[in-house]
């Protein structure tokens, strides 16, 4: 797995949410879950052609999707924030991959810091680290995903795993992984 560059804590809402099909009215974009920036408040540059495509899929649908059918606003996408997940770096990496002349299968990973606007308590911090992994190839299945996750956790010494269906705006099918510890 090749390491992705993640050296930008500051991200635009576009890469953090919109490009990942998270609707602009989603609760996670609220003031109480995300750190929005006062300065610099807006991202000066967004990829023009790609932005238009993202706008279309949110508001009208496309690529086989019904879309969310609401008015997508550019100002909302420009808002800067401290990234809430390293998936924004994955989105950038996949965008770069898509612009290559010829597709080549890739495996990416990253481990870096993310920020969530939460009150601190015994099990929650405002900053924590996330591990991210992406495999892009032809003919991948859900079974492959589960197999890769199982190998990953086995390496950490966790062997008893169960997968549960979950919901994520940008992954479908989605799952949460539960592990059981003896004792």
């Amino acid at each position: 797995f090749t390491e992705m560059p993640t050296d930008n804590f500051v991200e635009s809402s576009f890469w953090n949410f919109d490009a990942l099909f998270q609707p602009q009215q989603h609760p996670a974009r609220d003031q109480h879950d995300t750190f929005f920036l006062q300065d610099p408040a807006e991202a000066p540059e967004l990829p023009a052609g790609y932005t238009a495509k993202v706008k279309k899929v949110h508001s009208q649908g496309g690529y086989g999707s019904q879309g969310y059918k609401y008015d997508w606003r550019l100002e909302e996408a420009r808002k800067n924030l401290l990234r809430t997940h390293t998936t924004s770096a994955s989105a950038r990496a996949l965008y770069r991959l898509a612009r290559q002349e010829k597709f080549s299968p890739v495996k990416y990973f990253s481990i870096d810091r993310v920020f969530r606007n939460e009150s601190l308590d015994a099990t929650h911090l405002a900053e924590f680290h996330q591990v991210e992994g992406v495999v892009a190839d032809r003919g991948l299945t859900l079974g492959h995903l589960m197999g890769t996750l199982r190998q990953f956790f086995n390496q950490l010494g966790i062997t008893q795993l169960r997968f549960k269906p979950a919901y994520n705006p940008y992954t479908e099918p989605s799952m949460e992984v539960f592990s059981y510890h003896e004792g």
């Binding site: 797995f1 090749t2 390491e3 560059p5 050296d7 930008n8 804590f9 500051v10 991200e11 635009s12 609760p27 003031q31 750190f35 929005f36 920036l37 006062q38 300065d39 610099p40 408040a41 807006e42 991202a43 000066p44 540059e45 967004l46 649908g61 086989g64 999707s65 879309g67 969310y68 609401y70 800067n80 401290l82 299968p105 495996k107 810091r113 920020f115 606007n117 939460e118 405002a126 900053e127 495999v135 003919g139 991948l140 299945t141 859900l142 079974g143 492959h144 589960m146 197999g147 890769t148 199982r150 190998q151 997968f163 549960k164 269906p165 979950a166 919901y167 479908e172 099918p173 799952m175």
Partner: protein, 569 residues
């Protein structure tokens, strides 16, 4: 209980807690107050955010029963009353600036019990919090149809002209008085701002001028429904028509179960300002065709088309095989507004199959992997710095404004720091531009440890940069501090020399590194130097100024070194 937990897990729900009313009161107020409270077992279930149909008991039970193949998915029917007999909701032009959209429907001859009534009210609240985004996008109003007569008018009027008796109040108030009345109400005060400053407030009247509601704040007392109500008029007003339609569909599909003709909904007509009319609820059934190979391929299973159709039907997506077995036609009911792409259908098939029944395999992708050069350098340095006797620290990237400016004797505007708009506490006002405050705070928290304290950190700082696409960038810094009874400038200098040796940078002015004496606001005068390498200034080292040491609540001398390591990648 175990069985139910299993069922929830498979279906994709999380059984959060098994408790009872007695337990809840016990935990919050103590056992004394809990005496006499109900012992009936309560399940707290976490429902995914996109499944509006599982937010009430009716929908949840229905979904689970179809999943277990105990019942067939009901077919929801829209009954259009004969010409002139149906209810009409007329929208006037004034609403366009405050709350332009509205949809309506009728539940005819419904039978409520206490539980059903509570569930009905509960669902409305849950939808308000969830898809309606706290009533901002859509507000729901339900009314006893027998207390009013149509046609109904949805219009907007100045607050002084609206006067009615709000729900559960004993007298009439004007709209402005209502705003004041509910300003301290713990529940309703959060919604006042949605219309408060508009010149016109939305209001719905019946043909006799009786106020049904003033959305999104409160309904009128006149039309309130009770356990005895037989006919319900439902209206949803809002700023997002798609969501209003979904909300209406959910309410009527869930509770039409209790109508005299189960699962039937009486349609109502909405008349727009331009004269056009529309029948609601839409109760749209959508048909999608998906190839069985696609489903099998995406999941990694190989089921026959007919067994795939059966799996989908269990998930409330009625399906059957068509066209000599090489295609599946799926009917998406109005309760599943979350199905917006073929991949949603694939997910449901996988859930019905059971995620944990899927065979786990490894992708056959061959790739040559690389570590990111900057991270590789960081990892190598970390090991050697630890070997040099320094302990690594991991500190917060967010700090207060004073930490990076005032406490270091600098002005905040000179730091080019990224500032946060909505910090919860003063500790998270800005993103750090230097690693030094973090390390000094770490020492302050570890004063009781034996001296000397030697700490380092290699991590990112954030600075504003107009040349990047977002307006800011990270720099990888390395910072080390030495805290002891004597400042130890020679130790910090020695550490710098060691790091340069590891980076294979010779101590020469032309093609290596060099240090020049300078003044720094955080440093002791005459004990500060700037480090130059690769043609640029990469940082400073020196003995910290006593003011800095005191501001961070420390008492001993301290020397520090901070450089940017990116030029060495």
């Amino acid at each position: 209980d175990e069985e139910f937990n299993e069922l929830c897990f498979e279906f994709g729900l999380e059984l959060d807690e098994i408790t009872s009313e007695k337990d809840i009161i016990s935990k919050e107020k103590g056992e004394e107050k809990a005496k006499g409270a109900s012992d009936t077992v309560l399940y707290k279930i976490d429902v995914p955010a996109n499944r509006y149909d599982l937010l009430c008991l009716e929908g949840l039970v229905r979904g689970l029963q179809v999943f277990k193949e105990r019942i067939n998915l009901p077919s929801y029917e829209k009954i259009i009353p004969p010409e002139g007999e149906g209810q009409r909701l007329i929208i006037t032009g004034e609403t366009v600036h405050v709350r332009p959209h509205a949809v309506a429907a009728v539940l005819r001859n419904i039978t409520f019990t206490k539980e059903r009534y509570d569930s009905f009210i509960d669902l409305q609240e849950k939808l308000h919090q969830n898809i309606c985004r706290r009533r901002a996008l859509v507000a729901i109003g339900t009314h006893d149809l027998d207390t009013i007569s149509g046609p109904f008018t949805f219009t907007a009027k100045p607050p002084s002209e609206i006067k009615f008796k709000p729900l559960n109040q004993s007298q009439e108030y004007t709209a402005s008085q209502i705003m004041d009345l509910y300003r301290t109400d713990s529940h309703l005060r959060h919604y006042l701002h949605l219309i408060e400053n508009k010149p016109l407030y939305p209001v719905i009247y019946d043909s006799n001028g009786v106020v049904l509601s003033m959305p999104p704040i409160i309904n009128g007392d006149h039309t309130k429904i009770s356990v005895k109500t037989r006919n319900v008029f439902i209206e949803c007003t809002g700023t997002d028509i798609t969501k209003a339609k979904i909300v209406l569909d959910i309410i009527v599909t869930m509770f039409s179960e209790y109508c005299e003709k189960p699962f039937s909904v009486e349609a109502a007509e909405v008349v727009y300002p331009n004269g056009k009319t529309h029948i609601y609820p839409e109760l749209a059934y959508r048909k999608e065709k998906v190839k069985p190979e696609l489903i099998n391929k995406k999941i990694g299973i190989s089921e026959t088309p007919s067994s795939l159709a059966k799996l989908l039907t269990r998930m409330c997506l009625k399906s059957h095989v068509i066209g000599n077995g090489n295609n599946i036609e799926i009917e998406i009911p109005p309760t599943r507004a979350d199905i917006i792409h073929a991949c949603d259908i694939v997910e449901d098939a996988a859930i019905a199959y059971g995620y944990n029944n899927i065979q786990m395999t490894i992708p056959k992708t061959y790739t040559i992997a690389n570590q990111l050069p900057l991270n590789k350098l960081t990892e190598l340095l970390r090991v050697d710095l630890a070997a040099a006797g320094f302990t690594e620290a991991l500190t917060f990237a967010l700090c207060s404004q004073e930490d990076i400016a005032d406490k270091l004797g600098m002005d905040i505007s000179a730091t080019k720091a990224v500032r946060i708009a909505n910090p919860k506490t003063a500790e998270f006002q800005v993103a750090r531009t230097t690693l030094l405050p973090g390390l000094l705070k770490t020492i302050a928290a570890n004063r009781k440890m034996p001296l000397p304290l030697k700490l380092f950190e290699i991590s990112d700082v954030v600075v504003k940069d107009p040349n990047t696409d977002v307006g800011a960038r990270n720099y990888r810094h390395f910072c080390a501090v030495y805290y002891n009874k004597s400042p130890g400038f020679e130790i910090i200098h020695g550490l710098l020399d060691r790091v340069m040796q590891l980076l294979e940078v010779p101590p020469s002015e032309e093609n290596g590194y060099t240090i020049k004496a300078t003044e720094g606001s955080a440093f002791f005068p005459g004990r500060c130097a700037e480090i130059f390498a690769k043609g640029q200034s990469i940082g400073k080292l020196g003995v910290l100024h006593p003011d800095v040491i005191t501001k961070f609540e420390l008492t001993m001398p301290c020397s520090a070194l901070e450089i940017n390591i990116e030029p060495f990648v």
